[in-house]
Assembly symmetry: none
Homo-oligomer: 179 residues x 4
DNA sequence: AATGAATGAGAGTTCATTCAT
DNA sequence: AATGAATGAACTCTCATTCAT
């Protein structure tokens, strides 16, 4: 999977052959097919894992603070830090859109669901605006993706902090009741 | 191009052959290659056109109102209306990410630039928050994409209005000074 | 035809398209097809012309001297001079072997026939060895081709003279009775 | 390679598809590409092999006699015998001229080099004329090619002997000092 | 007569996938 | 379980040739 991540991210999905991945991973092609039924499945698995990492980081940040009003801040910090760590494989994240449409796996879906749950929770506590989580979650997700895009255009530590700061303010203004 | 839009959107990029497109368009394969140097170029052109349509609609909505504070509303209405019109080819929009990496064309870039210009203008008038347009624009773009995604999950007219209403409020709270 | 010569010689037969030739000649593709039934026919025509030029030069040299014993010398000079003039299109000459097999035209045939006639004439005069012209002519032709090849490997004026001198001596020793 | 030889020789290079060769050889197309990077490479390999066979035969004949003055005779016999054995694929030999221009492989080059070495050796022994081997070798090679051509025009055993006899005499007269 | 856009058969090549070893 | 040679379907792209204008 490490080999797949690296190669897909640098050469693109179509631009990478199963043979290359097998070679980079020092296994035989046949062994690859023992772990993943086919090429799309490998990409899907890669994406799933990556998404899971983001969700994990996000949730951890989220739960690290009591007041729902302030939970976005550590959440965003955690996400941006994760993005920085995953920097060289971020293209994978943007990539998958078309390619994983096949299976039951829809890229971004799991993360949106996680956001939806968080929003519901905060709204129940009266901390967030009374809006439809099914609408708000994809939008919030889009905001995060947009922020990451902004950072990727200029991937310095300084910019990362600036982007995070802006995103925090926007989240607060957009979703928090008391803002 | 109409044939390409339709087929790519329904069968995916890889799932569609140049021969199919040529056949659907009632021309010879060679003629396709007379207009587009290769398959990625056709997809890029399709995407460019689609993006242009969105930018056009957005700008028109934007300029239809004087007060900058209120410009988001018609803008969002225009975008959502456009999305509804383009409903069956919307997958194209999400698709292109990986595929057009080759050329000088980056999907979403043109739209983000347009949003950046709008934000700068409104900020100069003192109507919008004093934040970096280079950061705000991708985020706003992500919000729109998220909203469209929310709508695509449940593409009814009723939902469209609900999504538009939520997005309007979020934009206002997030970006407008007087909010 | 000038365009064809140049392009075939530089880019090879397969590497040159009819469109390129037409463009270089500042005519339309259709017009090319008005003059030559197809691509091989154009190459054949080119080769025929080139061969004719060599035959012409050879014959002129040949007839410029009375004694048959001495006729090879001016003949070889004329041929080498022609080769130098045609230097940049010489690849054409080597090329055609496979490609013109189609038509009734066989590259080299006309030249071999010319040599055969010359040999017969000289043999009738008792100046040349009593050998089968049908065997001697292709061999003599091969000698000329070999000499041209030797020169092409190192296409300087000095080498041209050296090659010509060697070839003259070999011809004399090989074919002339009194040698 | 046997399939390639046969098909190229009968149908020409362009007239033969990789699929045909694969089918004739009872392997899959992909397996062909496992052995030869592309079509020209296959032709080049075929030619190389064939040339090697001729060089082998030539050298063997050459070394079968002590006196340098007499070495041409067995050499020519060996070459003509080889040509007869390879009769049906001889077209291959004439073909390659244009097609193998790509690689570092130049048809005929290896054989010319072999002849050059032989000539140098014989000249050092004082048996051959004192001429530049770099010039003589291509010419001698041309003589052999011409003789083979003469034979191919009328490929009977009787003619083969006649051609061989003439070629021997010409070689002796042309290159041997004592002649 | 000249044009050159349109044609579409056809070829080379790739590569995901299999399966005998 | 691991291997990787063999497979061959399938795809993109080219280009000689035609023919309506």
């Amino acid at each position: 999977m490490a080999a797949g991540e690296r190669l897909f991210a640098t050469q693109g999905y179509t631009g990478t052959t199963m043979a290359e991945i097998a070679h980079a991973a020092d296994v035989a092609v046949g062994s690859l097919y023992r772990l993943f039924p086919d090429k799309p499945a490998l990409l899907a698995e890669l994406h799933r894992t990556m998404e899971q990492r983001f969700i994990e980081a996000m949730s951890q940040g989220w739960r690290s603070v009591d007041a729902y009003e302030d939970r976005f801040d550590p959440m965003i910090d955690a996400l941006m830090k994760e993005a920085e760590a995953a920097q060289e494989i971020m293209p994978l994240y943007a990539m998958t859109r078309e390619l994983v449409e096949s299976a039951d796996f829809v890229p971004g879906h799991a993360m949106i669901e996680a956001i939806k749950a968080q929003y519901r929770e905060g709204r129940a506590k009266g901390a967030y605006l009374d809006q439809d989580p099914a609408v708000v979650a994809p939008i919030a997700h889009g905001m995060v993706e947009g922020a990451m895009r902004a950072w990727m255009m200029n991937p310095t530590a300084h910019r990362r902090r600036a982007v995070a700061a802006d995103l925090k303010e926007l989240f607060r203004r957009a979703f928090v009741v008391a803002a």
